[in-house]
């Protein structure tokens, strides 16, 4: 009898924890999948950001949940047409990525997000903010490259920034294409650590390269 009780308790406990972990992986997977379709509607991106943040807050020690919450917020800033709102959303993304940074220091993917946040701030008023944010954008991008030289995303961000910089300023397809091609090469070799680790950007790089032909 005692054994049975023990068995039930152990079973409950074990399935409980398994269920918890399964639930985490499953929720993360379905939400990550939803990111790909969310670009059509910015509101979906915000809903997803909130979902990731709820997971992150409940789990407390999963950096990836904070990472994706920040990724959704920063992507949301790029789609926000009212530029006066961007700084506050970008600050929210910073708050989230800083929490990821505490759990997973010196991470290349986290540095990428920080670079993206700096570009959101700059885009609010590029004329006035260029000086202030361009150094930040580049230093995080370079940190990301150093932290993981196999990560294709920092090069993708760099190539994308170059492509949208006018030729007169040393940008344009001419300078962007080799960087994007190198990023694509890295994407082809890139192996994610798990199903829920960052693995986005390849199709975008292919699109950018095709536009430069």
């Amino acid at each position: 009898m005692k054994k049975l009780i023990l068995l039930v308790v152990v079973t409950l406990f074990v399935t409980g924890t398994f269920a918890q972990s399964d639930k985490y992986i499953a929720s993360m997977k379905s939400n990550i999948m939803a990111i790909d379709t969310s670009y059509k509607n910015p509101a979906d991106l915000l809903t997803l950001a909130n979902k990731f943040e709820r997971i992150a807050t409940a789990e407390k020690n999963q950096w990836l949940a904070y990472y994706y919450a920040a990724l959704c917020q920063v992507n949301y800033t790029y789609m926000e047409s009212d530029k006066t709102k961007v700084d506050a959303i970008a600050d929210k993304a910073t708050e989230l990525i800083d929490k990821a940074d505490v759990l997973q220091p010196n991470n290349s993917e986290i540095s990428c997000i920080k670079s993206m946040i700096a570009s959101s701030h700059m885009m609010v008023n590029p004329m006035q903010r260029y000086m202030e944010y361009s150094t930040e954008i580049n230093s995080f991008m370079e940190a990301a490259m150093q932290q993981d030289p196999t990560n294709p995303r920092p090069e993708y961000l760099k190539g994308q920034a170059l492509k949208y910089t006018p030729e007169q300023f040393g940008g344009g397809c001419g300078t962007a294409k080799p960087v994007l091609e190198s990023a694509l090469d890295k994407f082809n070799k890139f192996k994610t650590a798990s199903d829920i680790h960052p693995n986005w950007g390849k199709s975008r790089v292919e699109l950018l390269i095709s536009e430069c032909k």
Binding site: M1, L4, I5, V8, L12, K23, S27, A43, L46, T47, N50, K51, E53, R54, I55, T57, A58, K83, T84, K85, D87, A88, I89, K92, V124, N125, P126, M127, Q128, Y130, M131, E132, P166, E167, Q168, F169, G170
Partner: protein, 752 residues
């Protein structure tokens, strides 16, 4: 027992699977739905995000007491405890908006903000240097904004019917005396300071803050830069001179120092641009400055700025009374200015700022009546000729200590208060043709205490309430100046503001000393404004009424000097102003339009009656347009300034009535001036160039339109002569090089 346990286990797992729906609506305190709010059951994955109608709905398997949290940017987070049973729950929540700088209304009545950061900014520092009519002069750029007059015969800002002496200029809170180079008759001088020294400028055309005083019309508040972005050196070569400087930023980015020197010699400039006056001393200026800035541990700053300048100029004009004789005017000036400012965050939301400034000014002026062979002529009959030969030596010292404490309360609410002590000693020696000397000295100790509160009732309604108390030794009376502005933001983000204030000012130094017992002159401002600012467009409309009382009237003293005599002067000014700036409609094109209507009359100084002063035009307008053409690496800037004619008068002394009467009067032709400048950036886009160059070509009054600012009369009033600019056009060519930092990036980004 075994079965019982299994049953219990089954029941438990079944109930755990039973889901309960939680739904509701989230509104703000005005009853409007809030979109995008995140709703979370604390510690779970369960929750939702509100839709555009503020509705949310989700299922949860949680049971019992649990905390529901809601959060969204810009609102105060909200928590509520729920007890989840088996029935659906409806929760309706009201969220309170946070008062944030981003959303809050801006208290803007009467002021134009020029800054790279401030959201209410109308111009940036770079706008000042790329506005062609401004020629890189800080105050001239403000002449393209509404409220200012296109006065070209003398320096200073003439704001809303006020004279130039009614506008005061402050650097980091301290008054800057002699902001402009010393006056020369009929030729406007420039401001002394480089526009790149400042990170922000507030140009108040009325109703300004209680932190400032002693200006009946306007305050120009300049805030110097904190740390430079990088270490850099620069060099400038132009038709007016050469200059160079270095700014050094410490490796830890906590401190910096800088020095610069400029040598201006207008020989080449005058060779290219023929001057009306006959210059026997080409204007030569030496100007040096030094600064250091230290960032303190608490994020405060210690900033020092020191300036020294020596310059001289001399020119001849035909003497208006005699036609065959000439008036030779010469001035030598030495000016120093030091300002040290310490701003510290002392915790608990308190910020303390202390500033000390000290400046000196020395002017040595000589005026000679000369014949055709440049020989000095002394004529004593008629007697007024004898006063054409004189020397005037002015010596002035100014010191100021200022202290401001600021406490941040909840939200954006702030209280500030402080005190100001200003000392001035001005001495002048006037030497007549016969060697007789008159020395006069005026000392003033001006103390003031001020307090001000920013009150944000909601994001949409805010007020600035303040007051200032002053005591000047010269007047020996206290004055109390209340200030108030209120701003309200509408649903479409446009806003309306109202400002009211009383402003006091001492008599001008040149009408002192006097034996008369005087009071302060006084102005009351009433301003109503409507404004709409989006990131690419600014629109504003402002109406004002200004009432002057106790203005100074002058009389002739026993020594023949014009001195302040009583406070019987008065006046008024009413106007309507319009400003529109647009960077959106045309790609890569930025333009703005200003228009001011002014109706003003006053009786002051030696005016025989209440008249429209000669510095006031009824209609003033400016148009500025800038376009940067990337493939050519070139920026094109054009400005057009217009004003209707200004009145001019000759006051004749009527010996029968023993007073001044209007002997002659008229109106000048309207003022038109088109200026053009081109900036060429050859190194643009080059990777890591060693130096960056900006070439500038500027032409003032491109079309060579006739400009008449005023008329000078001879002694009897029988003959008048137009006061016109020294040259029809002015062509400027220059090259600015910077090493170590890409300043051109500023120029380009500003034009993108």
């Amino acid at each position: 027992m075994k079965r019982g346990l299994i049953l219990l286990f089954l029941i438990l797992s079944l109930t755990a699977k039973a889901q309960v729906r939680i739904a509701g609506k989230i509104m703000d305190n005005r009853g409007k739905p809030v979109n995008g709010v995140s709703i979370t059951l604390n510690g779970t994955y369960d929750g939702a995000t509100t839709d555009s109608l503020g509705n949310f709905s989700f299922l949860t398997t949680e049971k019992g007491k649990i905390i529901l949290q809601t959060s969204i940017i810009g609102y105060r987070p909200f928590e509520q405890e729920l007890t989840i049973g088996s029935n659906p729950i409806t929760v309706n929540i009201t969220m309170k908006e946070l008062v944030t700088e981003l959303k809050a209304v801006v208290i803007s009545a009467g002021s134009f903000v020029a800054s790279d950061k401030n959201k209410g900014a109308v111009l940036t520092a770079l706008d000042i240097v790329t506005t062609p009519s401004a020629n890189g002069d800080v105050t001239s750029a403000f002449k393209t904004l509404p409220g200012t007059q296109q006065v070209g015969e003398s320096e200073g800002l003439f704001v809303r019917g006020g004279s130039a002496t009614e506008s005061k200029i402050y650097m980091d809170g301290n008054l800057v005396n002699n902001f402009f180079y010393s006056s020369t008759p009929g030729i406007a001088t420039r401001g002394r300071f480089n526009p790149f020294l400042f990170k922000g400028t507030i140009f108040s055309t009325g109703g300004y803050s209680a932190l400032y005083g002693q200006a009946l019309s306007s305050a120009l508040i300049l805030e110097s830069k904190d740390l430079p972005e990088k270490t850099e050196a620069d060099l400038a070569i132009s038709v007016i001179g050469v200059g160079g400087g270095i700014q050094h930023l410490a490796k830890d980015k906590k401190s910096s120092w800088g020095i610069s020197y400029n040598y201006t010699n207008l020989w080449l400039g005058f060779a290219i641009n023929k001057q009306k006056q006959d210059f026997f001393q080409i204007p030569v200026y030496h100007q040096g400055d030094a600064n250091f800035r230290i960032k303190t541990k608490t994020g405060g700053f210690i900033k020092y700025y020191g300036y020294i300048s020596a310059n001289k100029t001399g020119f001849k004009n035909n003497d208006i009374d005699s036609v065959i004789l000439k008036n030779a005017f010469a001035i030598e000036n030495l000016n120093t200015y030091q300002n040290i400012n310490w701003r510290e965050n002392v915790g608990m939301g308190w910020k303390l700022t202390t500033g000390i400034s000290y400046s000196t000014n020395k002017d040595d002026i000589t005026n000679e009546l000369q014949d055709a062979n440049n020989q000095k002529q002394i004529i004593t009959n008629p007697s007024f000729y004898s006063f054409k030969n004189f020397t005037l030596n002015n010596r002035a010292q100014y010191a100021q200590i200022r202290f401001v404490a600021e406490k941040k309360l909840n939200g954006l609410n702030v209280i500030r208060f402080g005190s100001d002590y200003f000392y001035s000693k001005e001495k002048s020696t006037y030497t007549l043709y016969d060697g007789s000397q008159f020395t006069e000295s005026v000392t003033d100790n001006l103390e003031s205490v001020f307090a001000e509160a920013d009150v944000f009732i909601t994001n949409d309604l805010a007020a600035k309430v303040g007051g200032r108390v002053e005591h000047s030794q010269i007047v020996d009376k206290w004055n109390i100046a209340p200030r108030l502005s209120v701003a309200y933001k509408f649903a479409d983000n446009s806003q309306a503001s109202f400002a009211y204030g009383l402003f006091y000012q001492n008599p001008e130094r040149k009408y002192l000393p006097t034996v008369a017992s005087l009071d302060y002159s006084r102005a009351a401002h009433y301003i109503l404004q409507y404004q709409k600012i989006s990131s690419q467009r600014t629109f504003r409309l402002e109406a004002f009424y200004k009432k002057y009382s106790d203005l100074y009237k002058t009389a002739t003293s026993l020594t023949g000097r014009e001195v302040a005599f009583n406070n019987n002067g008065f006046g008024h000014a009413t106007g309507l102003e319009f400003f529109f700036r647009d960077k959106k409609t045309f790609r890569n094109v930025d333009y703005w339009i200003s228009y001011s209507y002014l109706d003003t009359k006053r009786d002051f100084l030696n005016y025989p009656q209440s008249i429209t002063p000669s510095f006031a035009a009824n209609h003033t307008a400016a148009f500025v347009i800038k376009k940067f053409v990337l493939p050519w690496k070139t920026g094109f800037n054009l400005s057009y300034n217009f004003a209707t004619g200004r009145p001019y008068y000759h006051f004749a002394y009527d010996h029968v009535q023993s007073k001044y009467v209007i002997g002659d009067a008229g109106k000048t032709i309207s003022y038109n001036s088109m200026s053009f400048s081109v900036n060429y950036l050859p190194n643009l886009g080059k990777k890591n160039p060693k130096a960056f160059a900006v070439w500038v070509l500027g032409i003032n009054n491109v079309l060579g339109q006739n400009q008449v600012f005023n008329y000078n009369y001879n002694n009897s009033g029988s003959r008048k002569e137009a006061v016109t600019p020294p040259s029809k056009r002015f062509i400027f060519i220059g090259c600015f090089l910077s090493f170590g930092i890409d300043r051109t990036q500023d120029a380009i980004n500003n034009n993108l």
